[in-house]
């Protein structure tokens, strides 16, 4: 299991340039090209975007979808190749890897599957685990059989039934979330779920738990604020999001800052430097490809601790009448700006953010030292 996971991580690191290019393109689209993008809304050119850039947007979206799909397929194929390159003869490798490519493409062929990075190790484990259990002379046949079974599952579920387990999971979560959290402990539970989801590679989970002003609790807060009444749900997800989503669920931004501080006297890989802007914009997956943070138990523990501390500090500040985040923000607002914009108290929230990130750097210090010692940094 350990070697398989390492093979997946190394393949992910090899894909970092592609992931970075796609992530930067995604951010550019979110900020500038979409009709509801940040600058389109704040500068008021959203309406003319549809007529001028409608086709461009569609092409960019298609490029991103296929790009991430190709990335996923390559990670799986490279990982399998690393693990089996000594076991099979030339033609056997070719046949197996071709089959794995086709099946992986089919597995990642739904919008709901893309960016759920958990598919990558699951595919590798699903093929490698039975192979490692049998004698060498049977390994090739078992590898082919396992791949075909996965292919049958993918074709049945995705192409015939037009279903996706990730899509079903998202729908289930949306139903569970309902009107949104109203108590601090509920918000904490959803936060934990999002952190765990991110760590596992279930982006579908974290995506559903992002702050949404149309959720009942958030909307009631908004209406109360507009009518100058007491905010009814101060400890719901929307106001508390201002303290806990820096760099995505799990505070990946704090992890990155800690890493950069500890590496200040060492040469930094250029590709790692290029993950800075995406991480600031809560697009954490480029960082997850650069550093071995996913499926790392020590990192998960620290993420949970840091997120809980941030939530506690945030709740305390709100209880002490810090202006809560209740108002609208443009789509694509990174968390680092969310609190200030949604509360109209920019300076206060900048101060709070700096203090919280400083606290998180202390919490992440030890686990990042271990990451440095492991030496597993992409393109170092």
């Amino acid at each position: 299991m350990k070697e398989n996971m390492q093979a997946v991580r190394r393949s992910m690191q090899q894909m970092l340039p592609l992931v970075l290019a796609l992530t930067w393109l995604y951010i550019l689209q979110q900020l500038f090209l979409r009709p509801d993008g940040y600058f389109a809304v704040t500068l008021g050119y959203g309406r003319s975007i549809m007529s001028s850039f409608g086709d461009v947007n569609r092409v960019v979206t298609l490029f991103l979808d296929k790009g991430f799909q190709i990335m996923g397929v390559l990670v799986i194929v490279l990982a399998i190749q690393k693990r089996l390159h000594d076991q099979f003869q030339g033609h056997q490798q070719t046949v197996l890897l071709t089959l794995v490519t086709l099946v992986s493409w089919q597995m990642l062929n739904t919008a709901a599957s893309l960016m759920n990075l958990v598919v990558l190790p699951l595919m590798v484990l699903a093929i490698m685990t039975p192979v490692q259990l049998v004698k060498p002379r049977h390994q090739y046949a078992v590898a082919i059989l396992a791949t075909l079974l996965i292919g049958a599952y993918a074709v049945t579920l995705h192409s015939w039934l037009k279903m996706s387990l990730f899509g079903l999971m998202q729908q289930g979560l949306v139903t569970l979330i309902g009107d949104g959290s109203t108590d601090l402990w509920q918000t904490w539970l959803w936060l934990l779920t999002a952190v765990l989801g991110n760590w596992l590679g279930l982006n579908a989970v974290a995506g559903v738990i992002r702050p949404d002003i149309s959720a009942t609790a958030a909307n009631e807060n908004l209406v109360a604020a507009l009518q100058h009444q007491t905010i009814p749900h101060t400890f719901s997800l929307y106001p508390l999001s201002a303290f806990v989503w820096f760099g995505g669920a799990g505070l990946m931004l704090a992890l990155l800052i800690t890493y950069l501080i500890q590496a200040r006297n060492k040469p930094l890989p250029l590709l790692l430097i290029l993950t800075i802007i995406p991480t600031f914009f809560d697009q954490w997956w480029a960082l997850a490809f650069a550093l071995p943070v996913m499926w790392n138990w020590h990192v998960l523990r620290t993420m949970i601790m840091a997120s809980t501390v941030n939530l506690g500090v945030g709740a305390l500040l709100l209880a002490m009448h810090l202006a809560p985040a209740v108002y609208w923000v443009p789509s694509g607002t990174p968390t680092i700006l969310f609190g200030g914009l949604a509360s109209h108290s920019m300076w206060l929230y900048i101060l709070v953010t700096v203090v919280l990130l400083a606290l998180d750097v202390v919490i992440f210090w030890r686990v990042v030292q271990e990451l440095h010692k492991s030496g597993e940094v992409a393109y170092a």
Binding site: Y38, S214, H228, I277, P330, L337, G340, L341, H344
Partner: protein, 280 residues
Amino acid sequence: MRKRWLILILGLLGVLLLTMAVLGLRWSQSKTTTNQRIYNSRMTPTILIPGSSASQNRFDQLISQLNKGNNKHSLVKVTVKTDSSMVTTGKVRNGDLAPYFVVAFENNHDGYASIKKQASWFNEALQMLQKKYRFRQFQAIGHSNGGLIWTRFLEKYYDSDSQQVNVLMTIGTPYNFEETNPNNRTQMLQDFIRDRDNLPSDLTVYSIMGTETYDDDGIVPEQSVQTGKFVFQKQVAHFTEITVTGDDAQHSDLPQNQQIVDLIQQYVLPKSQGVPGNRK
């Protein structure tokens, strides 16, 4: 070299975040200020949309009947031109909290393609009215295709952040155009049914049907009006179908029908209406 890249990236990040902060704050504060006025407004107008081939004067007789006695309210008419410009006549008298707004279209042709355009124009007209008169709550009335425009607006454009519609009354509205067989669903009806999840769940809908013969009001088959149930039933808070017969039950006369006037007064108009010169 790497340090230069780091400085470049951090510099770019700083400029980007600063620009976003300034623009975002300005946008958010502007949206909040506009909506604060809207949310704290006590005005609840009744907005009427006429049917195809009808003009902004379609409801004059209806509004005269509603304005009988001491209960007089202002009437503002908006005509949306094909280039999206708007011509407004009339004004809201000071203190009038329940005026009537009629929104008509220069292109008032029949057909699904026209209805889609008219709904988009209506959305623009409503935003103009909201900005000018600063209201959030309103009541909705649509005669004939006017009801279709309301339905499309509610499914495609309605913004629950800045709008709240309490009641919708559609009068002689052909949800399935001229189809008499409810199993033969027009594209428009199919689209309405597909997008019905977007309808406000707290809305009360009255669908009024006139019958001159036993099958139609002279133009719209009753089966077509009745297909409205596939759109609204189990989606909105309340859905009621009412059949009106007798005098003025022909399609074009329905807005003047006394029973419909009574229904509007009873179920649509706000109960406590601010009337100019009648403030307590």
